[in-house]
Structure formats: C-alpha cells, structure tokens
C-alpha cells in the first residue's frame, strides 16, 4: 500500500542520527555570540569574546589547568594499573579470568553518585577532599576498566608464536615483555590512556562531591556557571571540551585501527 515502504527504516535512522548530532552543534554558535546571553548568533556577528574570557579569567583558567593536570595523572595511573592487570590475567584459568575481568569493570556499572558518596565519605576522613590526590584516585578508578579493556583486546589479538619464538631464541620473560609484547600492544595502551584521559576530563558527578573552593575542575566550573547565570563563557568551555574530546577519541580510535591493520595479520 505504501510505495516506499522499504525506505521508511533508513529515513528514520538518518533522522535519528541527525537528531543525535545537531543539538550538540548548537553549542558552537552560542560560544561565539556577541551578547551576554545563550543566544544562537549568526556567523556575521561572531566574536571571540567568550574564548578570551575562558583563557584570561583566572577562575576559568585555573579550573581548566586543574582538569588537565588531574586527567593526565589519572590517565597515567589507570593505564599503568590496567595494562599490568591485562598482562597478568593472560594465562590464568578461564573462570578466574572471568571473575577478575568482572571485578575490574565493576566501576563502570556502579551508579556514579553512589561511588561519589562513598569516595567523599572516605576522603573527608583522610583530609583529601579538594586535593589533586583525591581526584586522581577517583578518576583513575573510572579509567581503569577502559585501559584494561583496550589493552586486553590488544593482547587477545597478539600472535602467541612471537613470544614463543623470542623465548626459544633465549630471551627471558622480562626481555620478551620489553622487546616483543609491550611494543606490539603499545597502540592499545595509548588508546586506553586516551580514553581514560577523556573520562577524567569530562567527569562531573564525583567532582561535584570532591571539589573545594580551592580546587575545582572545569566541568564543575561549567556546572555552577550554568546553574547561576547565563554567562556564555560556559558555551566557549563546552565547545573547547567537546572539541578536545572528539580529537582525543579520534586519536584513540586511530591507534586501535592501526593495531588491527598492522598486527593481526597472520598469513
């Protein structure tokens, strides 16, 4: 009865895809608005005013620097712990590995606000609320599963014969690890680190509990700005954060596909 019935599904999917992407792009024209409101401006009147504010106002700049510092440290801790865990779990019995994997990925499944309350209760007793160390602990925990999953996937794709050849040629386990395994899983490790960085850089729920007047991350500054005013600096911050996220994630995906193309060929 409907002549183009088979087109209904693709049209629906494209419409939904556009509905997912377009609203996010609405942030960009607001960030260039010349006015002091969340108005969507036309490109002729665009001004860099709010970006200048973001990079010169100490409140915004300090929170940006704190966020970058915390995200770098958290990504480092998460990547080291996640990579070591992925390496350590390679040869254990299957049932043990399933349990260990479930435990490592647990931080992804617990409602964030529950985690945040517990961390706050613990850190307030150790006087670590509002410190870089407290943030790094919390964010490294969130990055751990991502680093672990990415590195594990790299290891699963690794050709076991390479290691056996290395051992057969007289290299010890440490030398084999250093010269064979780690260089081959390096793209996976880099991708994991980038994902862990993004998660920390964007995290707002736990940061809302752990922040103090002296240490606030950029997401917390954005959140409190949104709740109290219509200062378009938040739009500049949002555009900056989104752009950094997309670029970082693109590098992570590129690292992973590089690994797939170059390392999984077994002819």
């Amino acid at each position: 009865m409907m002549p183009h019935r088979r087109h209904v599904l693709p049209v629906f999917a494209v419409l939904l895809a556009v509905t997912i992407v377009l609203p996010i792009l609405a942030v960009i024209p607001v960030s260039f608005t010349p006015t002091s409101s969340f108005a969507i401006s036309s490109p002729e009147s665009w001004s860099p005013r709010w970006y200048r504010e973001l990079l010169t106002n100490p409140v915004w700049l300090d929170s940006l620097v704190s966020s970058l510092r915390i995200a770098l440290l958290a990504a480092l801790v998460a990547t080291v712990a996640g990579t070591m865990a992925a390496l350590g779990l390679r040869r254990v019995r299957r049932t043990h590995r399933v349990v260990a994997r479930a435990l490592v990925t647990l931080p992804l499944l617990i409602p964030l606000v529950v985690l945040a309350v517990g961390l706050y209760a613990m850190l307030i007793r150790t006087q670590l609320v509002g410190t870089t160390a407290g943030f790094v602990l919390a964010h490294a925990l969130l990055g751990l599963p991502l680093a672990f999953i990415t590195v594990s996937a790299s290891l699963d794709a690794l050709d076991d014969n390479l290691e056996q050849a290395s051992r057969g040629l007289g290299a010890g386990p440490v030398t084999t690890m250093r010269l064979i395994v780690l260089p081959l899983v390096a793209p996976g490790v880099i991708a994991g680190a980038l994902f862990a960085f993004v998660v920390s850089f964007n995290e707002v729920v736990i940061a809302g509990f752990l922040g103090s007047p002296y240490l606030r991350t950029l997401p917390i500054e954005m959140y409190s700005s949104m709740t109290r005013s219509t200062d378009p600096t938040v739009a500049a911050a949002a555009t900056f954060v989104a752009a950094l996220t997309v670029i970082t994630a693109a590098f992570a995906l590129a690292a992973m596909s590089w690994r797939r193309r170059h390392l999984t060929r077994k002819d």
């Binding site: 599904l9 693709p10 999917a13 939904l16 609203p23 996010i24 712990a81 751990l144 949104m226 996220t245």
Partner: protein
C-alpha cells in the same frame, strides 16, 4: 613462597603464572581503596550514622516524599530505557541492513554522545529548550516552550546520552543472528512481519536485555543533568543524595539512599540476566 598452600591443580601450572599474578597488584589496590572501602563505608554509615537521632532507613521509609523520589527515579530510568529501546531497535536494525558507507555514518553518529561530556549535552538542551530558544521557534504552538524544568526534558536528555548503550549491544547481537533464518522462515510460509517477530526478535533478546540494563543502571546515577533540565520539585535520588551530603551532612540518609540505589541496580541486573538465561534454556530445550 607459599607453595604449601597451593592446591594440586595450581602446582602443576608453570611457576611464572604466580609471578604474573603480581601484576594485578596495582589494579587490586586501586579497586580496594577506590571502590571497596568507599562502598563499605557508605553501607556502614547508612546503618550507624543518625541525623537528629533517626537512622537513615527509618527516615527513608517513614517519609513519603523520599519514597516518592525513589519511585520517581526508578520509573524515570525505566521510561528512559523504554524510549531508548523503541528508538534504538529500529536504528540498530537499519545499521544491520544498511550498506557499508551508511553503516559507518550511523555508527559514527551514535558513538558521538558516548564520548561527549554529559555537561555539553545538558547545556545544548538548555540552549535549545530555553524560553525563546530554538524549540519554541521550531514548534510555535507551545510544544517546545515549557519543556524545560519537567521530567520529559530529563528523559530527553538521558535518552540522548544513553542511547549508544542501547544501540551498540543491540547491533552486536543482531549481527550474530544467522542471516539465513528469516528467509528460511519465509520460505516455510511465514510472512515477512511474522518471520521478523517470531524468529529474528526472539534471537536478539540478549542484546535487548543488556541494552536495557546499561541504560537503566546508568540513568539511576545522574544528578547533574536532572538538576539542569528538570525541576527541584521533581528531584531524583542522585540530587537528593547530593543535597543530603553536601548541604545537610546527613551521611546516614545519603548512605541509605545509596544502598537502595545499589540494591535496585542489582535487582534489575539479576532479573534481566535471569530472563536471558530462561529464554536461552527454553530455546535450546524446544529445539532439541
């Protein structure tokens, strides 16, 4: 070192496995300090800490307002999961049946909200739904106006953020369904619709279940987005926990709310895992 305590099975395995297990130490430490102790502390506080002499659970279950908040949180999460499923299932099916280029486009669009910050998405909707914003210009009949500060706006925002967690497991499951099954059913006389609903959809139940679990569990934990797009009069558990801890220092109450949230999450998880197992067992039993 402790070879005396190793079981026979473990002793037979090469020694260096024991050494490799030491590599787990940093992750184990991180999980213990960052996850086990904080969660344990929350549970402990929910039992022992009192505010004005009242235990957190007593407060929660004797206070209709907070029971209502709990119910509202779980029903908002369920509604979000349903909306994600209703939109995500045809989307995933479109990805399955699309050509390679179209598939990459659809996949790219759905991966975007997975990485973009919750704040950016909440801000985008704040801009669109604000009075005199894009929504009120596009829908001048009042459809767009007045959405901000309501529960539907919260569901809209949550759906936007969480729909990848529905679509990706659905797509993965759909890809694992043997593409010859639906044509086979049609060859045996079923109509296309009947073949789709009685052959294809039941085989994708594991994907539906994991998508629903992900979306449901994740929507329980938000407080920033409901705070920005919703109304304080229709608060959800996340916001209530934040207020109880940060403004009132009522640790027992926050702990009790957190425990309710975890138990609810675990119950949904167990329920849907059970559904998948029963469906799987029935299918195997029915065919053999």
């Amino acid at each position: 070192m402790g070879s005396a305590v190793l079981s026979g099975a473990q002793r037979r395995r090469p020694r260096r496995i024991q050494g490799e297990l030491a590599l787990l130490a940093p992750a184990a430490l991180l999980l213990a300090v960052g996850l086990a102790i904080p969660l344990g502390l929350s549970v402990w506080l929910s039992v022992v800490d009192t505010t004005g002499g009242v235990n957190g659970y007593v407060w929660l279950f004797s206070n209709p307002v907070y029971l209502e908040i709990t119910l509202r949180t779980f029903s908002t999460a369920a509604l979000t999961a349903l909306v994600c499923l209703a939109l995500g299932y045809p989307y995933a099916y479109a990805m399955l049946t699309a050509g390679p280029k179209m598939r990459v486009f659809l996949l790219g669009c759905v991966v975007l909200p997975l990485m973009i910050s919750v704040l950016v998405i909440a801000f985008a909707w704040l801009v669109i739904l604000q009075p005199g914003g894009l929504a009120s210009k596009l829908f001048p009949l009042g459809l767009g106006d007045g959405l901000l500060g309501t529960l539907p706006a919260v569901v809209l925002g949550l759906t936007h953020i969480l729909i990848p967690y529905m679509i990706l497991p659905l797509y993965t499951t759909m890809r694992s369904v043997d593409p010859k099954l639906v044509p086979a059913a049609m060859g045996l006389g079923a109509t296309r619709t009947r073949a789709f609903w009685t052959v294809f959809v039941p085989l994708t139940i594991p994907g539906i279940a994991s998508g629903v679990v992900f979306v449901f569990v994740f929507s329980l934990g938000f407080y920033v987005l409901p705070q920005l797009l919703g109304s304080p009069r229709q608060a959800l558990i996340g916001q209530t926990i934040h207020t109880q801890v940060n403004d009132l220092l009522a640790w027992g109450r926050a702990g009790a709310l957190a425990v309710v949230l975890i138990l609810g999450t675990a119950a949904v998880f167990a329920l849907l895992t059970g559904v998948v197992r029963i469906v799987g067992a029935n299918r195997r039993g029915g065919r053999s």
